[in-house]
């Protein structure tokens, strides 16, 4: 009898230790902050359309948003050869599109041919275009397909995370999908309704077909205040990215719903105008071109205070172009420039600057005064500018803050170059440094501090050009990492961009939703949408 009791107790513990059986059904709701511009997965160019592509599209390879490693999806295996020029896939067998059309290697070939058609102007296709020339796609049999590019493509296999395979035979064209959901209804300006794809190929560990959710309703809602209000009313269950002040506000009311996941990939930075033809005085150009001057400014800014005061400690001092959230590419040997106004002053004095009373003068006797431009209406940037203003005042520098409407700001920083210092943010969606080529190459129009150079203006910019091209021309990830570490070090030493903070990824998830695991990569809250489900308690609350 005693043995039986013990056995029952052990069985009870075992059952308790097993994960709860996921519940099928229910409708997940969250907000799209803009109207999706397209449902064609090849033409996606903004976040709302990307959300729909992610939820509906089937891809050959998926970047696991948690581990940041590549995982096979529609392809069971792949092989990159010829230094990144060629990639071969073996397709998964027996899969069906949502309309019942079978999936074969022909569909992959059709997708790639369509994607690389220059007449389509596909933003996704553009990321594969490393040089001029045709892309050759060959299918040896219904499972094997080989794609050959005219030149090596850096981080080639990772780019397939964005390529949703479309059917070559389905009469529904791109509406036939291989992802977990299909678009069922769309009301312009109001909502997009996605229904469960009954033919989705993935199953859970118990053999049940995924996804667990019946549908997802994406309400189109631009206003953040209303989004927050709707969450409080339990009308939506997820908020993907949240401002620090909204986060703090909600944390008081629903502490179990808010999650700070740590530094995101996004950064805030300042840069000085180094364009030779800029309509600013020559003596100021000399300051801005001086590495010591830029380093001194960097040292005079209290990044810890920016994180604590402006972002309520929901940010980290930034080191460089790569956030610590980027697990592979971040150079761990680098640290943010320490806040040390005295060291900054000494550095400037070594360059001939002198502090007369409370005013810093350059060797030519000019008082050091310049303006910072940023976009009007962005509370965080305006506050950061005000704090930098006070930090620089401590070393005798007068900073004037100018907030401009966005078109005027862009006009100044990219066409007239009539500005001195600019404060803006960089939103990173790609982990691979090749996505930043247009920022670092001196010939590029996005090389903000001095764009479209005919030849590199400085030796360190020439070195960055060389290293970026070198990392793009090899497929050896470790070698690429070594090259890009050097780029990060040069940027850290030269400070063409003075990186300020990496904002934390802040999300909100209803406790009714189970199996959630938010991450810093987009889409932060629903990257594992197939396995999300409503818990028993939550089901009642959310319906």
């Amino acid at each position: 009898m005693r043995t039986h009791r013990l056995a029952l107790l052990a069985a009870g513990f075992l059952l308790a230790a097993l994960p709860a059986k996921p519940q099928s059904g229910g409708e997940l709701r969250f907000v799209l902050r803009s109207e999706p511009k397209t449902f064609d997965p090849m033409l996606v160019d903004e976040e709302a359309s990307e959300t729909i592509r992610y939820l509906t599209g089937g891809v050959l390879i998926r970047v696991n948003r948690k581990t940041q490693a590549l995982e096979p999806e529609l392809a069971v295996s792949w092989k990159v050869s010829e230094g990144g020029k060629k990639i071969s896939f073996r397709a998964r067998e027996g899969l069906l599109f949502s309309d019942g059309t079978p999936f074969t290697a022909e569909d992959v070939a059709f997708t790639m041919q369509k994607l690389m058609n220059p007449d389509l102007h596909s933003p996704t296709g553009d990321s594969f275009r490393s040089s001029q020339g045709p892309v050759r796609v060959t299918t040896a049999n219904p499972r094997d397909v080989t794609i050959e590019f005219p030149a090596p493509v850096a981080g080639l296999e990772r780019l397939f995370d964005q390529v949703a395979v479309v059917s070559s035979h389905s009469p529904k064209k791109e509406a036939a999908v291989l992802g977990p959901f299909v678009v069922a209804e769309y009301k312009s300006g109001s909502y997009v309704l996605l229904k469960r794809n009954p033919l989705y190929w993935k199953k859970d560990a118990r053999g049940r077909r995924l996804p667990y959710l019946d549908s997802i309703r994406l309400d189109i809602q631009q206003n953040r205040d209303l989004e927050l209000l709707r969450f409080k009313r339990n009308e939506i269950q997820l908020i993907n990215s949240l401002d620090a002040s909204y986060f703090e506000n909600l944390a008081k009311e629903a502490p179990s719903a808010v999650r700070d996941i740590g530094p995101s990939l996004d950064s805030e930075q300042i840069w000085f105008n180094q364009v030779p033809s800029a309509p600013i005085p020559d003596y100021k150009k000399n300051w801005f071109r001086s590495t010591s001057f830029r380093l001194a400014i960097s040292e005079a800014i209290n990044r810890d205070d920016l994180c604590r005061v402006v972002f309520g400690s929901h940010a980290r001092p930034a080191v460089g172009p790569v956030s610590p959230a980027n697990l592979f590419w971040f150079d761990k040997s680098l640290q943010p420039h320490p806040y040390d106004p005295q060291a900054a002053l000494r550095r400037l004095q070594q360059e001939g600057f002198r502090l007369d009373g409370h005013v810093l003068n350059d060797p030519g006797g000019h008082a050091v005064e310049f303006s910072v431009v940023t976009n009007a209406g962005n509370k965080y940037r305006e506050q950061m500018a005000a704090m930098i203003q006070q930090d620089l005042e401590q070393i005798g520098i007068r900073l004037n803050i100018v907030t401009l409407d966005f078109p005027s700001l862009i006009e100044r920083i990219s066409r007239t170059f009539d500005y001195e210092l600019c404060l803006l943010g960089l939103v990173n969606v790609d982990l691979d440094p090749s996505a930043q080529m247009s920022v670092w190459l001196s010939s590029s129009s996005n090389h903000q501090w001095n764009p479209e150079q005919k030849s590199p203006a400085t030796s360190w910019e020439a070195e960055i050009d060389r290293l970026m091209q070198a990392q793009a021309s090899t497929n050896d990830q470790n070698q690429r990492k070594r090259y890009f570490d050097q780029v990060q070090k040069i940027v850290w030493e030269q400070q063409p961009f003075i990186y300020l903070v990496n904002k934390n990824a802040l999300v909100v998830i209803s406790p009714a939703l189970a199996n959630t695991s938010p991450v810093v990569l987009r889409p932060q809250t629903f990257w594992n949408v197939e396995t999300l489900y409503f818990s028993n308690q939550g089901r009642g609350a959310s319906q």
Binding site: F370, S371, M387, Q390, N400, V402, S408
Partner: protein, 268 residues
Amino acid sequence: MKFLRQTAAVFLVAIFIATLFAGILAPAPYARQFRESPNALPSRIHLLGTDELGRDLFSRLLYGSRVSLLLAPAASLLATIIAALVGGVAGYVGGWIERIALAGTDLSMSLPWLFLLLTVRAVLPLNLPPAASLLITFGLLGFFGWAASARVICAGARGLRNSDFVLQAKACGCSSQRVLLQQVLPNLRPVLYAQFLISIPVFILTEANLGILGLGVSEPLPSWGGLLRGLENWSAVQANPARLAPLVLLFVVVSCFQLVMPQEDFAS
């Protein structure tokens, strides 16, 4: 009523004196950031608490009141003078001059001034000190904000054009200029006062809105408009209701302006 008027007058004088002596009365410089205590609640050190950057709200209110109480009325005066000239002459002279003036007024009111202001800001030099940006902001408000008042003043002047005393003055051989300056304008005084008073809070609020668009008074100089922007953060207001002080002060000051105006001026 007399008591109320006197109280309002005393209050306004007290406010003006307080703002003029802000340098002495303010417990801290308006730009100083007490970074260890952002969003602090009212205390002996910070009478109204601090803002998001830890700046003393009482000091900022004193300096901001100085800016707004001096410059919003100045801008309102400029707008009222322009409106009096355009509307007064148009209404008194009448005929095609009135039609042209009113057409110009309508055109002025239909123009998207917001975008014009943005354009003006976009072409201004960047290295303007905060004080210069302040003068430019309120100057632009005064220069662009006359049209609505001009229409009201024109209607008032038109009513006086055929009045007995104007006809009598003309019959006595007074020149048009003399009639306009000595007969018409004094009788338009209640309308001018009203337009002047109405424009003050309008300009203060416009400055606040322009601040959001980047055309307001630049940091770190405070103004009522800039301080009112702090009310956007409602959770901070709930935590520290003293943040409503700029709004209360604006309401009280505008009410006091109404009370101190001679009531007989509004009798007509």
